[in-house]
C-alpha cells in the first residue's frame, strides 16, 4: 500500500471507529512511518529499505521486509496471505498501544497488497523471464512488479498466474479488516462499515493519486489533515516510542516466523 491508504485511510477509519483526534493521528502516523524509517544509523532499527540493492541482503529480507511488510501466511511457507493468523496475532498483541497498533496495521494492510509474494529472494517472486528487462530487479517481494501491487486503484494481471488482480477490491477488504480492529480498539463503537464502504469504494476507483488522496481527505471530518504536518508534530515527540514499538514488533514477528522451515530456492 501507499500513503493514501497507510495514513489517510487509516486516519479516516480510526475517526469513524470513534477514536479521538490525537490517537487517531498517532495510529495513522505510525502506520505510514513504517514505510519511511530507512536509516538504521539514525534510529538503531529500520522498518523499510528504500535501496533496492539492499534487498538482496538476507538480513534485510528477514528483519525489514518480512517482519514489517511480508509476514508469511498460514499455508505456503514464507508466502504472504492476506489477514493470516500470524498478521492478526501481531495486531492483537499491539492493541492497547497507539504506535504499536499503527505499525501492526501497516503489516496487516500489506498482507493484502503483497499477497502471494514473499520477503525472501526466491523464484516464487519472479514475474518475468531472465531475458525480459522487466525482470531486472531482484526477485524479492514484488520488486519486479515495481509499485503496481500497492496502487489501490490499479487492476493488473499477475504474470505468474495470468490472473487479474483488482486492487480496489483488495483495498476495500483491507479497509474493512482495519476498521474492525480499530472499532475493537475503541471499545466497539457502533459498526458503520455499511456506510463507509461505498464512500471508500468511490475514492479507490480514482486513478490519479493526488485526486484519490483528496477524495479520501474529503471523507474525513478534519479536512485539514495532512501527513506532512502530523509527521512534523509527532516525530520529535514519539521518535523513541516508535523505535521501541518497532523493536517489539520485530521480536514478535520473528517469534511468529520461527517455526517456518521451507528453504527458498535461490
Amino acid at each position: 500500500m501507499q500513503k493514501d491508504f497507510h495514513f489517510y485511510v487509516t486516519y479516516f477509519l480510526a475517526t469513524r471507529a470513534g477514536i479521538t483526534e490525537a490517537p487517531a493521528q498517532k495510529i495513522a502516523w505510525a502506520c505510514q512511518f513504517t514505510d519511511e524509517l530507512q536509516d538504521p544509523d539514525d534510529y538503531d532499527i529500520q522498518t523499510q529499505s528504500g535501496l533496492l540493492g539492499n534487498w538482496v541482503d538476507r538480513q534485510i529480507q528477514l528483519t525489514v521486509l518480512i517482519a514489517f511488510h511480508f509476514i508469511p501466511g498460514d499455508n505456503s511457507g514464507w508466502v504472504v496471505e492476506h489477514n493470516s493468523s500470524r498478521v492478526r496475532k501481531l495486531v492483537e498483541l499491539a492493541t492497547g498501544n497507539d504506535i504499536q497498533l499503527g505499525i501492526a496495521l501497516h503489516t496487516l494492510q500489506d498482507s493484502f497488497s503483497h499477497e502471494s509474494f514473499s520477503g525472501w529472494h526466491e523464484d516464487t517472486n519472479a514475474c518475468f523471464p531472465w531475458y525480459d528487462i522487466r525482470g531486472f530487479p531482484p526477485s524479492v517481494g514484488h520488486a519486479e512488479m515495481i509499485v503496481v501491487p500497492d496502487i489501490i486503484s490499479q487492476t493488473w494481471t499477475d504474470p505468474r498466474t495470468g490472473k487479474v488482480r483488482d486492487n480496489r477490491i483488495m483495498a476495500l477488504e483491507a479497509a474493512r479488516v482495519t476498521y474492525s480492529y480499530l472499532q475493537k480498539f475503541s471499545n466497539n463503537e457502533p459498526d458503520l462499515w455499511g456506510g463507509i464502504e461505498p464512500e471508500l469504494s468511490k475514492a479507490f476507483s480514482i486513478s490519479y493519486y493526488d485526486d484519490r488522496k483528496q477524495a479520501i481527505i474529503n471523507l474525513c471530518q478534519n479536512t485539514d489533515i495532512r501527513y506532512s504536518k502530523v509527521h512534523e508534530n509527532l516525530l520529535p515527540k514519539y521518535r523513541d516510542v516508535f523505535v521501541i514499538a518497532a523493536k517489539e514488533h520485530l521480536g514478535r514477528a520473528m517469534l511468529l516466523c520461527a517455526n517456518i522451515g521451507s528453504k527458498p530456492k535461490i
Binding site: D44, Y238, D240, V241, G251
Partner: protein, 40 residues
C-alpha cells in the same frame, strides 16, 4: 480512548535501553540468527 496508552516520552538513552531490553526479552536476535543460518 486512553491517551496514556503509549510509553511516556523518554530520553533517547533510556528509550534505547528499553528497546534493547524488549528485543532481548523476546530472544529475537537468537531467532533471527537461527532463521538466517537455516536460509542463508
Amino acid at each position: 480512548m486512553n491517551e496514556n496508552n503509549d510509553f511516556t516520552q523518554s530520553t533517547s538513552e533510556s528509550a534505547k535501553q528499553k528497546a534493547l531490553d524488549a528485543i532481548d526479552k523476546s530472544n529475537a536476535y537468537g531467532i533471527i540468527k537461527e532463521i538466517l543460518d537455516r536460509h542463508g
